[in-house]
Amino acid sequence: MKLNKTAVGWLNVTPLLAIMVPFFIMPIIVVAIASIMQTDGFGGMFMDPTLENYTYVFQSALTYRLYFETIKFAALTLIFSAFIGFWVAYFLVFHVRSKLLAMGLFLICTVPFWTSNIIRMISWIPLLGKEGLINQALMAMGFIDAPLEFLLYSDFAVVVAYVHQLTIFMIVPIFNSMARIDKRVVEAALDAGASKFDIMRYIILPMSKSGIALGAIFVVSIVMGDFFVVKVMSGGGTASVVGAFYEDIGVLQYPSAAASAIVLTILVMLMVALILRVVDIRKEITQ
């Protein structure tokens, strides 16, 4: 039997659909429906379509402050993790001669990530606290008289924890795209008299773009969807978008939580679309 082209096409996308439909599209539809329902205040929901949940989200100054905070963390994390991730990958690809050693070092990069996120986050507390190692060391060396309080339970602490958790998501794709840069191109540029800076600017950076973009998608969507790091590392000093609607769920306000979730989903999709618009990942990867 010979299948026609359309059938083959459908068969090709079946695995993807089999995952996307039950695990993404269906839940989103359920949440979207919940977001236009109403609640009786006791966890019961009834269908009397309303956009009130959305108008509340958009009219509340709280929403904008929460988004400001969360986007701020996403941006800061993105900047630092991209910077660190880029140089780590660069070192591994261009400075480590032996392929085996590079792979070995690359694997070592992942070692800290064998423990849970939570442990990696909590371990910062004894380091950064008022009576923590850093403050004690600085005080013992006479650099400061009183402990630095901004180290823990602050925006600083949140960013440190995020960067620590998420840099690997930058290293892996950047390493991958850099590894595919033909070394002869760099040699040719050198022979033609290009400076190191030019090589970086015209060859390495443009050719690692897809890796940076992929990493950015991971980092941005994880930070936007997280609330736990913010909660613990800021010492409750600030809140996050997801944290706020998790608390709505805690008091059984499902419709308003659902509306906030839909708004967040759309926003994250826009952010990803923006990243994809800046870098055409598909084109870069298939090159």
């Binding site: 205040g41 006791f42 966890g43 019961g44 509340s60 709280l62 402050r65 929460l66 905070e69 507390i125 004894p126 606290g129 008022k130 009576e131 923590g132 309080e149 823990l152 339970y153 909660k231 613990v232 010492g235 409750g236 000093g237 600030t238 809140a239 944290g243 706020a244 998790y246 608390e247 709505d248 769920i249 805690g250 008091v251 059984l252 306000q253 308003s256």
Partner: protein, 435 residues
């Protein structure tokens, strides 16, 4: 989101030792005799899933129950909000649900629990009247918030409305409760704390911490505001929007002045904050204070006895509810399980944490005289005190903060609750967080 108990501190060895000691105590006292062997054949395939917060649904207790009763008991821990969400949205995945008063009210309203027959609860008549009548020694127990008594009775087995006053049907069987207040470092705070207003005293700027579970954090805050004479409340357990606004605005003002070093959500965080010297005064739970002390760091649980219509502890109580789907042998087993809880072993166990049993008369039979004197009577401990897992806690001669059991519970001024304006309050609480 969470309260988690101090399980992390328990070494396996300590646990085994305690288990052996407990088994010895049980064998010695002869209080637990097991159930008829014919029954044992039929029930051995039964499994009860008891689901709730970690400080109430404790694995060591479930293990002991399974051993004594002969059927399987699985303890599953979730945080408060995840728990109530699971009871309501997936009631069939739970057999025994862990309920606070306000959760009992919600669960009844949603029809996910069935009424418990009071006459099948053997020790029901020995319950402290705090729970069954809303009073103790003739004194009325506070009814701000949702008191265990207010949420105890149902009209009938399948009723979805709470019953005002006493009836034959219960929403839940109370099993553990306590009175929460403030913990402080006596070495860093210059006077004994007996009033909530000290928590917002500018003297402790940058060294104070507050509980970040909106529903109860707001009550702690209200106790502070009321104590400092800043705000007067009609009912701290059910605030009006205006009262919520005033409270949150004041909290925001304090936060902008740098008053709070942090807020905490879990038991461990509160211990950590205090032990590391990040905070010197914070709203806190009794076992958390004890946990700080076991690190040999001085910490006192403030006795905030009621005075002039102010102050008082914030009380809470967790009970066991029966999910609607339970029937037949499994339902019988669930009743046996609940009766086992009230037979003493569990009461003694939670008492060694610093919590209380609603049937102290049976708990007493499983406790040493030393333990009873220290935990319930508020007397100086005749001998050293150890925690439920056998880890030394207090040397002989120590007196429990807050005095006797009666002194503490009669000084409860409000109970954990879910306010009518909970959704509004949550939003305002987040305003405080991002301020």
């Amino acid at each position: 989101m969470t309260k988690s108990t101090k399980k992390s501190n328990i070494s396996r060895r300590g646990f085994l030792k305690a288990g052996a000691a407990a088994a010895g105590a049980a064998a010695g006292s002869g209080a637990i005799t097991g159930f008829p062997t014919i029954w044992a054949q039929e029930i051995k395939d039964i499994e009860l899933r008891h689901v709730g917060v970690s400080y109430s649904v404790v694995k060591a207790i479930g293990d002991q129950a399974a051993k004594d009763l002969g059927f399987k008991v699985t303890m599953q821990n979730l945080d408060t909000s995840a728990a109530i969400n699971r009871f309501i949205t997936q009631p069939n995945t739970v057999d025994i649900c862990d309920l606070e008063g306000w959760q009992a009210k919600l669960a009844a309203k949603r029809g996910v629990i069935q009424g418990i027959e009071a006459k099948r609860i053997k020790e029901f008549d020995n319950f402290l009247p705090i729970f069954t009548k809303g009073e103790l020694d003739g004194a009325k127990i506070a009814n701000e918030g949702i008191s265990p008594y207010a949420a105890l009775y149902l009209d009938g087995k399948d009723s979805t409305e709470l019953h005002d006053g006493v009836s034959e049907w219960l929403t839940n069987v109370p099993q553990v409760y306590n009175a929460d207040s403030i913990g402080y470092r006596p070495d860093l705070v210059d006077h004994p704390v007996t009033e909530w207003k000290d928590l917002i005293d500018p003297k402790y700027k940058g060294k104070a911490a507050i509980l970040d579970v909106p529903a109860i954090g707001i009550m702690d805050a209200a106790l502070c505001m009321e104590s400092a004479g800043l705000i007067q409340y009609g009912d701290k357990g059910n605030m009006t929007k205006e009262e919520i606004d005033k409270t949150i605005d004041k909290l925001i003002e304090l936060k902008r002045d740098g008053h709070f070093r942090a807020t905490w959500t879990t038991f461990d965080q509160s211990v950590q904050l205090m032990a590391a010297g990040e905070g010197v005064i914070q709203s806190m739970w009794s076992p958390a204070v004890a946990a700080v002390r076991t690190k040999e760091i001085p910490c006192i649980y403030a006795p905030v006895n009621k005075k002039d219509g102010k102050e008082g502890y914030r009380g809470w109580c967790n009970g066991m509810g029966l999910m609607k789907h339970l029937e037949g042998k499994k339902l019988d087993a669930a009743y046996e399980y609940m009766n086992w809880y009230l037979s003493g072993w569990q009461g003694a166990f939670v008492s060694r944490y610093g919590y209380y049993s609603p049937v102290p008369s049976t708990a007493k039979t499983q406790m040493t005289d030393t333990e009873w004197a220290y935990w319930y009577e508020g007397k100086p401990a005749p001998e050293a005190i150890t925690d439920p897992y056998g880890v030394p806690m207090e040397p002989a001669g120590t007196k429990r903060d807050g005095g006797s059991f009666v002194e503490r519970v009669t000084n409860i001024s409000c109970w954990n609750t879910l306010m009518d304006e909970a959704a509004y309050m949550n939003k305002r609480w987040n305003d405080f967080k991002v301020a």
